[in-house]
Homo-oligomer: 181 residues x 2
DNA sequence: AAATCCATGTAATTCGTTACATGATTTG
DNA sequence: CAAATCATGTAACGAATTACATGGATTT
């Protein structure tokens, strides 16, 4: 039973309690999206597949005349979630356009290379700001895993901001040395 | 002229000098793969498309009876590369299974949560080791952008290893406090 | 009354990996 | 001479986003 990327988030989220597809998407957008995204085009078909495979179970629970299906884990699904959680992580990927541009920055003037670094810094500063907005709500449960993960996100992005700062300083020092030397 | 993800690496690599598709792939695998991967199934078709669009130009230069096409940037391609390099980065994505498992770790025993963290730590320790192997060769050009990016990779992964260490210590302290308290 | 939110779902398109097929050349 | 490397390419498949379509409920 190989779990698809989207199945992993769905099972994990349903492990916290029953939810509709819409609610799963909303939760993902507020939390795991920073390291594990999922769109409607993935979530709804995957919920159907997981239902067919017997890992989740949908119950109709409309709000008024608005139809709505709430999904919960079956015992099988619960077991498979546990098993997956108990396995070492395998997937770790990054797609970082700032890094890519920096990698090719030898083709640029030194001043432009510094500009590239500044832009990368801005991007990560914005990430810190975005995550800090979530923080007050999340800090209600300071011992929880989700809060720990949020802290990681904030501290990691702060680290990158500082790294950029140091990199800029080094480059500027080198530029100055070249001018005077 | 919207550049595809693979077009970005290809143009960047060709900006450092003419290369065959095979050589592009080899370089990517030794360098940008950590933050921008590309496979044969992307590279060869994209080289053809870039050729049709007039950004690159292929020249037959067989080695013996083994056919081989070396690509170089056209002036148009050069210009488009420059323009892209001079624009703020937009794409920044991460897919981190360790983080995802940690996020859902409230469903686990505290001891298991610590295990999850240890596994994440191992993963990043392995990354540090892998990058350190490349370092000696890269450090020949300590002022180059690629070396700077490699340093980022090493230092970033080291930071994560330390973060995991701190997180484990906190959790262990909390566990101990619970036992005695 | 309009805007926003709740809710579900699909179609089109792009992106990306893996595996396969083919064959020459070099190195041990 | 076997294995590794150089070299190009495609087919099958899976993953993912975006946009669209539809419609009820709630809020302003």
């Amino acid at each position: 039973m190989e779990l698809s990327p989207t199945a992993k988030v769905i099972l994990g989220v349903l492990g916290m309690g029953p939810r509709s597809g819409y609610e799963i998407k909303a939760l993902v957008d507020r939390s795991t999206r920073f390291f594990w995204a999922a769109s409607y085009g993935q979530i709804y078909p995957e919920l159907r597949r997981l239902g067919e495979a017997g890992l989740v179970e949908g119950t109709d629970s409309p709000t008024g005349g608005r139809k709505r299906t709430v999904y919960r884990l079956t015992p099988t699904g619960e077991g498979i979630l546990r098993r997956w959680l108990g396995t070492p992580p395998e997937i770790y990927e990054m797609r970082h356009e700032g890094m890519l541009k920096l990698f090719f920055a030898d083709a640029l003037e030194p001043a432009e290379r510094i500009e590239r670094l500044r832009e990368m810094q801005t991007l990560h500063r914005d990430k810190v700001a975005a995550l800090r907005e979530i923080e007050p709500a999340a800090s209600e449960f300071p011992d929880s895993s989700p809060y720990q993960v949020l802290r990681f996100g904030i501290e990691f992005n702060e680290w990158v901001v500082e790294w950029c700062e140091r990199a800029v300083e080094e480059l500027e020092a080198r530029l100055a040395a070249k001018r005077t030397g």
